[in-house]
């Protein structure tokens, strides 16, 4: 554009061809277009009445402002559908001022969903199931079960239970989980029909157990993982969350076959862990062509494209984490795969990365010794060895001079930490500890080669056997009273959960044969938790205090006990899993035996259980895994798994759009103290959800409501280590550091390894600069303030 010509151009613009899809129109009086196409004037009173009905029992909600704001955003001729949607979003937007508006938004949305279902002439759960079966969505097993028990199931549907939803949870269900008609795209189920579908699919064909499971789900006390929620009862019942694929063998056929495996598993909503440790390194000779290999990066680039192409039926994107052992000579290229500079041909933004680290490497780092990098072609046995066997083989290879390069172990450790800090990726997972504590790895030859996409699953596998796990999580917030955890209720939920998870193994559709084979032998499941932080809020326990540590450990012990107990009872009934004789449990060894500091709460009870397990075996080789619960915690309206809260006030971004989430526990406390005022809200917003600088709030409360950025990360590791004694798989343990620096990072991961953690997950950090806050009066322009207590974190002084 010529600078000088602009005004002349603007003057002649009117005559130019229009770059326009819709002609501007003149707004007149506001009317809405009804479903039948007729128009009527917008009636404020009608909207107020509708909001008032939905707000029953919500005392802080004022219907009139919601109605007025809704109309303010309307345009002439908008549809009633748009009007409904706008009123929901208007209410939701007020959540940060008063959390009850979130409940109001959820109820308005529930009405819209109910209308959508009823509008297709579906008046009951059994009718909706029959329609779903006709449309080719519901499988014959569930169709017939529902037809046989129609009256009981229809009577059990509890529409009032939908009032438990927070807006965000219900929105997520509506946008992505409820079954939709393949042509009309209208939802065929209400949230309660949805829960009943899961219950009917996983209730074992038994009406009593089905109804019990429905009630637990409807209470939001327990939720299976997303693939189970998506697919249970459907014609493609792929309900497992995790697949662990061992490294393809070092051949073109094997590499391409693995792409196919990954695609098939992604298609049906499985998350994938994939080792690449067996693939030869850059510069290695290719005998068939007498050329030199380009190493793992080009193969991973192809995998990256493949993962992006398969998007899980539009429900969520495919996701894959690649594991590499740090002795692989391509490790440095591997660590750069997600850098945001450099050659795009060597970057893979759709892949997650993890390091599968032997203890020997960590010891060499500690000793400041050298580390040798190998071409896997020269040391083909290494991926299948761990512990002393690995160390002997590794050192022998070093002595033979087979290594390609020697570098200081600390130089590589530094690069690994930098990758973590700069990309959040390149997770630290520990090969030896994972194998030494794995129930399945008792016999040599049964080796854990990697963890999964979220680093909570540890199962043995091989080139022909792909480990699988189906997951579920208990909402601890639903198992707490003012007195503490209700352990009887927790035990009952665990028993119900293990029976349900065990059924999934038999019902599950396995997209690849290697996975079916493995699951038939090992029958592992992964029961986890969510809402631990909600429990601490409710009981006013600081996250890093001794009471929190004791309670969280006790919860883990109770869950492991009742899970084993139930699995043993199932073995008594149906027989132990086929590979039971190959497990450590068969030798009487349980998870906490690998953790010297663990003290069973009631040793006698454990000895009795040990004896029963020896006699009857276990139905499942593995039982407990703490998954991240990102989406199901939203549905249940609780904090994620075992994590501290990120902020007292934050924005949540998902496929359904962005939502403001406010810590309702804090709001309740502040209301009790008469402190929930506009000024205080603004202060929290200015501080990006922190309340530490707000003197008006009593100090003990401030300690309870610290954000994860304000907690010592050592506490997270200590809690994880104490809990680890009762977790036979692992935990998705995120660590957080607002401004990462190498000193703190290297200390932190060394500590995590020494405490015996098997795996860690993302390192979360915060951006160095910020978006200007547009809606806070007097927002500070500069973010960093100098703090003498915290010089390492202070940007201003460096």
């Amino acid at each position: 554009m010529q600078l000088q010509d602009t005004q002349a151009a603007a003057a002649s613009a009117a005559a130019a061809p229009a770059f326009s899809l819709t002609p501007p129109h003149a707004p007149a009086g506001m009317r809405v277009t009804k479903r039948n196409g007729t128009r009527e004037a917008v009636d404020l009173n009608k909207i107020v009445r509708a909001v008032t009905r939905a707000a029953e029992g919500l005392h802080a909600v004022e219907p009139l402002p919601v109605a007025l704001k809704t109309i303010g955003g309307l345009y002439d001729g908008a549809t009633t559908r748009e009007l409904d949607e706008l009123s929901i979003r208007t209410a939701a937007a007020l959540t940060a001022e008063e959390p009850e508006y979130g409940l109001l938004a959820a109820r308005l949305l529930a009405q819209v969903i109910a209308k959508e279902v009823r509008g297709q002439d579906l008046q009951s759960y059994s009718q909706a199931t029959a329609r779903g079966a006709q449309a080719g969505l519901i499988n014959a097993r569930v169709r017939d079960f529902v037809a046989a028990h129609a009256r009981k199931l229809d009577d059990a549907i509890d529409d009032g239970a939908s009032r438990r939803f927070e807006y965000f949870g219900l929105r997520t269900l509506y946008d992505r989980y409820l079954l939709r008609h393949p042509q009309s795209r209208l939802v065929l189920e209400t949230p309660q029909y949805f829960f009943m579908r899961i219950a009917c699919a996983l209730g074992g064909g038994e009406i009593g157990e089905t109804l019990q499971l429905y009630r637990t789900l409807a209470a939001l006390d327990y939720l299976p993982s997303s693939p189970t929620l998506f697919n249970a009862g459907t014609c493609h019942e792929q309900m497992s969350s995790c697949y662990l694929l061992d490294s393809p063998g070092d051949s073109l056929q094997a590499i391409y076959a693995r792409y196919g495996d990954v695609a098939m598993l992604s298609k049906f909503a499985g998350g994938i862990g994939l080792s690449y440790t067996r693939i030869r390194a850059r510069g290695s000779l290719i005998r068939g062509t007498n050329g030199k290999s380009n190493g793992v990066v080009p193969w991973l680039k192809t995998l990256d494209a493949s993962v992006a192409a398969v998007n899980q039926g539009g429900k969520r994107k495919g996701a894959c984490c690649v594991y590499l052992e740090p002795w692989h000579a391509d490790i440095e290229d591997f660590l750069e795969l997600r850098d945001n500079t450099g050659d795009p041909a060597r970057r893979t933004y759709n892949l997650n990365l993890a390091n599968w680290i032997p203890d020997l490497f960590m010891r060499r780092v500690e000793q400041d010794a050298a580390w040798t990098l190998f071409d896997p072609k020269d040391v083909p046995g290494l991926p299948d060895l761990w512990g002393d066997d690995f160390e002997r083989a590794y050192q022998a290879a070093e002595a033979r001079g087979t290594g390609l390069r020697r570098i200081p172990a600390r130089a590589l450790y530094t690069r690994m930490l930098k990758t973590l800090a700069e990309t959040g990726n390149g997770w630290f997972t520990f090969k030896d500890r994972s194998n030494a504590t794995c129930n399945q790895a008792a016999r040599s030859g049964n080796v854990v080669h990697l963890s999964n996409l979220c680093t909570e699953i540890l199962e043995v596998g091989s080139e022909d056997e792909t480990a699988v796990c189906n997951l579920a999580s208990i909402n601890l917030a639903g198992h707490v009273t003012d007195e503490g955890i209700d352990f009887d209720k927790l035990a009952a939920t665990v028993r119900q959960a293990v029976r349900q998870l065990d059924r999934v193994i038999d019902l599950n559709y396995y997209p690849i044969e290697g996975a079916r084979r493995s699951n038939a032998r090992w029958r592992p499941v992964g029961l986890g938790v969510m809402g631990l932080q909600d429990v601490f809020f409710r009981l006013r326990l600081p996250f890093d205090g001794p009471e929190a540590l004791a309670l969280s450990t006790r919860v883990a012990e109770e869950m492991y006990f009742h899970a084993l107990d139930t699995s043993c009872a199932l073995a008594e009934q149906h027989g132990a899993h086929a590979a039971f004789a190959d497990t450590r449990a068969a030798q009487g060894v349980l998870q906490f035996d690998h953790w010297p500091e663990a003290r069973p709460h009631d040793a006698e009870r454990w000895e009795a259980l040990r004896a029963r397990i020896r006699r009857h075996g276990l139905r499942n080789s593995l039982l407990i895994a703490i998954a991240p619960t990102a989406t199901i915690a939203s549905i249940a309206g609780c904090c994620e798994c075992i994590e501290p809260q990120v902020s007292n006030l934050f924005k949540r971004e998902t496929l359904s759009g962005d939502f403001l989430v406010v810590n309702r526990h804090l709001v309740e406390e502040l209301k009790r103290l008469g402190l929930w005022t506009t000024e205080l809200r603004e202060a929290i917003k200015r501080a990006e959800g922190s309340i530490q600088g707000i003197e008006a709030i009593p100090e003990p409360l401030r300690r309870v409501y610290r954000t994860v950025w304000e907690l010592p990360q050592k506490a997270l590791i200590d809690l994880a280590a104490a809990r680890g004694a009762w977790i036979d798989q692992s935990q998705s343990l995120n660590l957080f550091m607002a401004t990462p620096n190498l000193g703190a990072l290297s200390s932190m991961y060394m500590y995590a390894w020494k405490k015996g953690l098997k795996t860690t997950y993302y390192l979360r950090s915060r951006p160095a600069t910020r978006i200007a806050q547009t809606t806070v009066a007097g927002a500070p322009v500069q973010a960093a303030a100098c703090s003498l207590e915290n010089p390492g974190h202070c940007e201003a002084c460096q």
Binding site: M1, L3, Q4, D5, T6, Q7, A10, A14, A16, P17, A18, F19, L21, T22, P23, P24, G72, A78, E82, E85, L86, R89, A93, R316, K317, N340, T341, Y349, Y413, T414, L417, K418, A421, E422, G424, A630, K651, E653, T654, L655, S656, G657, L660, K685, P712, M737, L745, S746, S747, M750, R766, T769, R770, I771, T774, T775, V776, A777, G778, E795
Partner: protein, 345 residues
């Protein structure tokens, strides 16, 4: 701290003094250098933005009125950042006479180019037809509501282009008006309004690629604005006499004109009717933002408008992306320190 040592007789040097200063030690304005370093830590690339869902959204999920909104917006973005770059090179870099300030501006120039690349990629992705692409760039000449905004920008660029040296208070005021125009009206108002449309759509779960990139662009633009206001603050501290009543009146008039320009654009963008976003609300939002700009400049607010857009509150909040669904945009580039095993964490 880093106060320059000058002979008692000579007046202390000022940021707007003519010349091309080279001395970085002692550093006169360390805050500019810090801003430069902070900007580098937030490097991002267009390749990181995933547009894969956007085309589907445009084709399948969006109404004609919403597609019209997007086409107008893309047409504005196509040229907006290039105009800002031009002013940076032609005026700001020339007259802000401190090497650390010019370091920041160099970085800003790179970021503007990155934004141009981002919006070009966006346009190529959204508009498969080459004629439509050409039309988008021609919008700056052909579409009145966009041409008026461009004319506003170019008027202020041209207002100081002929100035070789800011050697009188009048010239310095003319320059200040240019800088305030770009910070408060163009980056701080036109762009903020454009971001509001994007955030409105994002709050409804639409166009994640556009939203992700915009998030990063917004973060950059926030820093550009913060730098400009910091520079203006420096000038005010050095030469308070420049900030007279005449300057204030001109700033207020300029903001009023910018609001009118942008409100005209809003009427065009929203012509098809968008539930939840009316031209009247957009005007109120512009007035609300303009009041904030006035406050940042140390002037009393003029309009007394409240924020009508709850979805803009969303963007003030810490993001917690569900990693299955979005790439987290919060990571830093560059980590410092030494390997240790006894640090607290």
């Amino acid at each position: 701290m880093n106060t320059p040592i000058a002979p008692a007789s000579a007046p202390p040097p000022c940021l707007l003094d003519p010349g091309y200063a080279l001395t970085l030690r002692p550093m006169r304005y360390p805050q500019f250098y810090d801003m430069y370093r902070a900007a580098i830590r937030n490097t991002w690339t267009v390749e990181e933005v995933d547009f894969s869902g956007d085309v589907n959204d445009l084709r399948q999920k969006m109404s004609p009125a919403e597609r019209h909104l997007i086409e107008r917006l893309v047409a504005f973005f196509a040229t907006g950042d290039s105009i800002v770059s031009n002013n940076l090179v032609l005026n700001l870099y020339r007259h802000l006479n401190a090497p650390e300030a010019r370091m920041y501006l160099s970085r800003q120039l790179y970021e503007e180019a990155l934004h141009v690349q981002f919006y070009l990629t966006l346009l190529d992705t959204y508009l498969p037809d080459p004629a439509a692409r050409q039309a988008a760039f021609a919008a700056v000449d052909n579409i009145p509501s966009i041409a008026h905004k461009a004319a506003f920008c170019c008027k202020w660029i041209d207002s100081v282009r002929q100035l070789d040296a800011l050697d009188t208070p009048q010239k310095r005021r003319r320059f200040l008006l240019n800088q305030i125009g770009f910070a408060a009206c163009i980056e701080g108002l036109f762009f903020f309004a454009a971001f509001a449309y994007v955030y409105f759509l994002r709050a409804r779960g639409l166009l994640h690629g556009l939203a992700a990139g915009t998030n990063w662009v917004f973060r950059d633009e926030s820093c550009h604005m913060a730098f400009a206001f910091a520079a203006i603050e420096v000038v005010r501290a050095e030469q308070p006499e420049l900030f007279d009543a005449g300057l204030e009146a001109q700033v207020r008039a300029m903001l009023a004109e910018a609001i009118d320009c942008e409100a005209e654009f809003a009427r065009d963008v929203l012509a098809g009717g968008i539930a939840g976003l009316s031209p009247a609300q957009m005007r109120q939002y512009l007035e609300y933002v303009a009041d904030q700009r006035l406050r940042q400049l140390g002037y009393a607010p003029q309009y007394g408008a409240g924020n009508p857009f709850p979805f803009m509150e969303l963007q003030d909040m810490q993001e917690l992306a569900n990693f299955f669904e979005r790439r987290v945009s919060a990571y830093q580039v560059g980590v410092s320190g030494e390997l240790r095993f006894d640090s607290s964490f």
